[in-house]
Symmetry: C2
Subunit: 224 residues, 2 copies
DNA sequence: TAGATTGTTAATCGATTAACAATC
DNA sequence: TAGATTGTTAATCGATTAACAATC
């Protein structure tokens, strides 16, 4: 079959894990870290499953992916489990990123400390507004977007976070790529086109909203 | 089998569509609307698929779900297709929501005009900061969080958007639910527990980041 | 007419779930 | 020992993809 998905790194059977598994692991990690603060030392799949409203067999399968060894009847050593999930998710590999578009969403992402736990560090922001250029947001410098290529090259940055309005997204994406960016995390509500080999992760709130709305609609139709 | 997913409205075989389909439809809609501005009148599945890097058969299946009729050799009438997707997604049913936590993420959501296209309208915001209470954000009043229950009840709001720090998420969720909220869109990076029948849609950037990071890692390992 | 595209049914592939042995 | 939980293999279920007829 001709696969039309030219620009995608596909998470498929050639890897030994699935995308749904990959998406659930950070959720487990967040929960396990709360257990850590409560001085818990051992945790079982059923415990995780109950807490997160998931199927315990699924949790076991997911954990298996990370290669950690548990003890029958006992469960998993909490510290070991956390360490293995973090290793699997490459949390200790520092990925530096720049962010373009210091609007409110940009601000929110710049101020979110949770990314560090997953290895992502936003090192600089770009905007065109004179009110923002030259300032600092959460200790990160805001440069004029004119400097985008220069700084990407000088700092050898590979990840670009796109939080500009839809109308500018493609243009900024093009500039990111031509300056050497290898992966784009796109928060603009528009599809962007990039050359082969460039990774694009598209964040789409409209999709989530559609799921939420449909659940509400179905609930109303079923219960009333 | 005992299903442990007590609190979920499950999108399964009892409906005639799948969650992946539901998540793709808004993406099609966004693209189709750009065609509309370019005065295109007819569109085919292969055209949509090419533009969005998807499989044309999948696009056809998804569109079939909305019940629109196309013409062989020609494609779908653009206006009709847009209308059908919008109808399927209930874009014309106004869903009113309140938002708690007017930090940057809250601001970003309050300022995002795209939700209106999907029927969601944020009618008020809540925060505890004296700098924000009493002000307007994008024409929406910011009330003190003390007024949360009163306003939810008075306006008969069913959707709550949660953009508070993780530490407050559960407490605010409890207050939302006891005031009558039926669905929570949770942007806090923590699982919240609610009673049966309440819908929770959890937005988790860490999951997306994990997918992005893994794609980057796989690409590096394969290409170098 | 020929060819492209929809509509629809069948096949495949992969994720989830089940079953059960191993073991602490 | 008994019972709970992991580890692993098999079965099921559902989403995607393929195939092909219908048709404009």
């Amino acid at each position: 079959m001709e696969n039309t998905l030219k620009n995608q790194i596909i998470l498929d059977s050639t890897n030994d894990f699935s995308e749904p598994t990959l998406r659930r692991l950070p959720v487990y990690l967040q929960y396990l870290k709360t257990l850590e603060t409560r001085n818990v030392s051992v945790v079982s799949c059923s415990q995780i499953a109950t807490e997160l409203n998931l199927n315990p067999i699924q949790v076991r399968k997911d954990i298996e992916t990370t290669g950690v060894a548990g003890k029958p009847k006992v469960g998993y050593e909490l510290k070991e489990l956390i360490a293995n999930i973090e290793k699997f998710l490459c949390c200790h590999i520092k990925n530096e990123a720049i962010l373009v578009g210091a609007g409110h969403l940009g601000y929110a992402l710049l101020g979110y400390h949770g990314f560090k736990e997953f290895g992502l560090e936003i090192v600089a922001a770009f905007d065109t507004s004179p009110d923002k250029v030259g300032k600092f947001i959460n200790t990160k410098s805001v440069f004029h977007t004119d400097k985008l290529e220069e700084i990407i090259k000088r700092m050898d940055i590979e990840i670009g976070i796109l939080t500009v309005p839809a109308a500018y997204a493609q243009k900024i994406a093009d500039r990111m790529v031509s300056a050497g960016i290898k992966a784009i995390w796109n928060f603009a509500p528009v599809k962007i086109n990039v050359k082969d080999g460039i990774i694009v992760q598209h964040e789409n709130l409209a999709s989530s909203l559609a799921v939420l709305s449909k659940k509400i609609e179905l609930k109303i139709n079923k219960n009333i």
